[in-house]
Amino acid sequence: MDQILIQTLHGLVNGMVLAMVASGLTLIFGIMDIVNFAHGDLLMLGAFVGASVLGVTGNYWLALLAAAVVIAVLGAALQVTTLRPLIGRDPLTTILATFGVSLVLQKYALWQWGPSVRQISEPVRGDFTLFHLQYPWYRIVTAILAGLIIAALWLFLKYGKFGIWIRATTQDRVMAQAMGIPVPLVYTAVFAIGSAMAAASGVLFGPFAGVTQTMGFDFTLRAFIVVVVGGMGNLGGSILASIFVSLLEAYAAIVVSPAQAVIVSFIVLVLTMLFRPTGLFVPTPK
């Protein structure tokens, strides 16, 4: 019973971090039709930048901000150099291009920071007791913070001037351009925002398991899964799917080893694609 409770908490916390990763991915997909294979590697780079800034300044929140800004600039540069020339081509070519980016970023991280695991120390210490089980406060803070960042993104998309531009571009890019919205700039900005979200979630997740240069692929795969399960390009769906999949994985980890628990999310994905390819958490299209 205790185990189920603690796994529920684990699942919810992991789900919130995953939701943040996935919201960046789904934003990029929804607006640009780009499946960003390098999303997890941007997360990994963000975590490394965060770890380095933390090492120099000792301030976690500064590290979080710095990582988001640095990776946003990197994301914008990537979009301009590799993805802008591909606009209008087969969407599959963007998978190939971002796959190349992923290779380069991963090996760059290895070159820059080495193969060892970097630790990011928790900014919030201490545990609390939950039915005679110790649970670290930091994980709760992370989940809340991730929720706040996602809420901020949603508010920005809903009410910000730039957010409205972004939504207009999603709906009809030709018409948006005709109305004077600088569509290429919107694309670059969206990619930068998505990258910043990835970097911030990397820094948030860092204290859980450390930062390694190979962590990116795992996150890319998991983010893909929840984005498809939640419905491609649907922000709310991705968030629900993240929590759903993370909870399932957490419960599965009670029975089998965590390495095998991953298969549960794979199976959820396959079943979703077979029976409800538009996504689990979206209304049935008419």
Partner: protein, 323 residues
């Protein structure tokens, strides 16, 4: 139209066969003149090229990008390992049979589910399937040896009662023979009415369906064929290196297969071999002074090719190679 071209004296088909004969002759004498290191290198190009060519059936001819070919390749390796470890005396042909059965079985499974999806969804689902098999192989230590994989003795090369141990040279010729047969088979398949339907799916799937072809069935058969040839490449690789390891079921191999195709030229069958050769040469040349960071320049070259040379190295020959 093909008939009129074949009838004219300077037909593209004739140039093609001359080029084909020259390349095959070069590959035949390669092990006799090259030092051992480069001899092995050429054999590896053949094996990786075969894997990449199997993927070309999907990427180049049917228009489906598979990010899961490592699963077929890996199952070919483990199938061969199963035959060589359980059957006494170890038999080369049974190893090939088991490898093909292993790769074919999961190809049926993947094909059944993944072909219902299109474009990026197909790519993601193949990736996910290959990861499922990776996790199973990695964690099922009692059967697959887990992280360490399986090692076994090399079977003897036995043809019609004659039998001898493999030397690097005879293995090269054996691999060359397998690759040649596979290449000619796949070439024949892609030029058959069946292959034409696949290319029609690539060009316009709704229209192909409207004409009355059962698109799903064609796709399933395409994935199965592709999986079988990928498994064959896995068997060759397992026999060459005397082991089967989970690393070869991991996504990195699938990614390399896609790189080979893009670099060499999709939809040419020969292009993937050129791509494999180009990639392995780059790796060999760059890793001498960049060690494992060779992927940084190679990745940049790859991105540049995706943007500026989407046809790949041999793309300009595409019409002639399919002549």
């Amino acid at each position: 139209m093909t008939a009129t071209l074949a009838a004219s004296p300077r037909s593209p088909a004739r140039g093609y066969w001359i080029g084909f004969a020259v390349v095959v002759a070069l590959l035949l004498i390669a092990p006799l003149v090259l030092p051992p290191f480069w001899q092995r290198f050429v054999t590896e190009i053949l094996i990786w090229g075969l894997l990449a060519m199997s993927s070309d059936i999907l990427i180049g001819y049917t228009g489906m990008v598979s990010f899961g070919h490592s699963a077929f390749f890996g199952l070919g390796m483990y199938g061969a390992a199963a035959a060589l470890l359980t059957i006494k005396p170890p038999s080369l042909w049974l190893a090939i049979l088991y490898g093909l059965v292993g790769a074919g079985a999961i190809a049926v499974f993947v094909a059944y589910f993944a072909t219902r999806l299109r474009d990026i969804y197909f790519a993601i689902s193949t990736l996910v399937f290959s990861q499922i098999f990776y996790v199973i192989i990695f964690t099922w230590t009692e059967v697959t040896g887990g992280e360490n994989g399986l090692t076994f003795r090399q079977p003897a090369l036995s043809i019609l009662g004659w039998s001898d141990r493999f030397t690097p040279t005879t293995f090269h010729w054996f691999a060359l023979a397998v690759v040649l047969v596979s290449y000619l088979l796949v070439r024949r398949i892609t030029r058959s009415p069946f292959g034409m339907v696949l290319q029609s799916i690539r060009e316009n799937e709704p229209r192909t369906r409207a004409i009355g072809y059962h698109v799903e069935r064609y796709k399933i058969v395409a994935v199965m064929l592709s999986g079988l040839f990928a498994g064959l490449a896995g068997v060759l690789y397992a026999i060459q290196n005397k082991f089967a390891a989970p690393d070869f079921v991991f996504f990195v191999v699938s990614g390399e297969v896609v790189i080979f195709n893009v670099m060499g030229g999709m939809g040419t069958l020969v292009g993937p071999f050129a791509g494999a050769a180009f990639f392995l040469l780059l790796r060999e040349g760059l890793s001498r002074f960049l060690t494992e960071y060779y992927l940084i320049p190679v990745g940049i070259i790859f991105i540049i090719m995706v943007i500026f040379l989407p046809q790949g190295l041999l793309g300009f020959l595409r019409r002639r190679l399919n002549a």
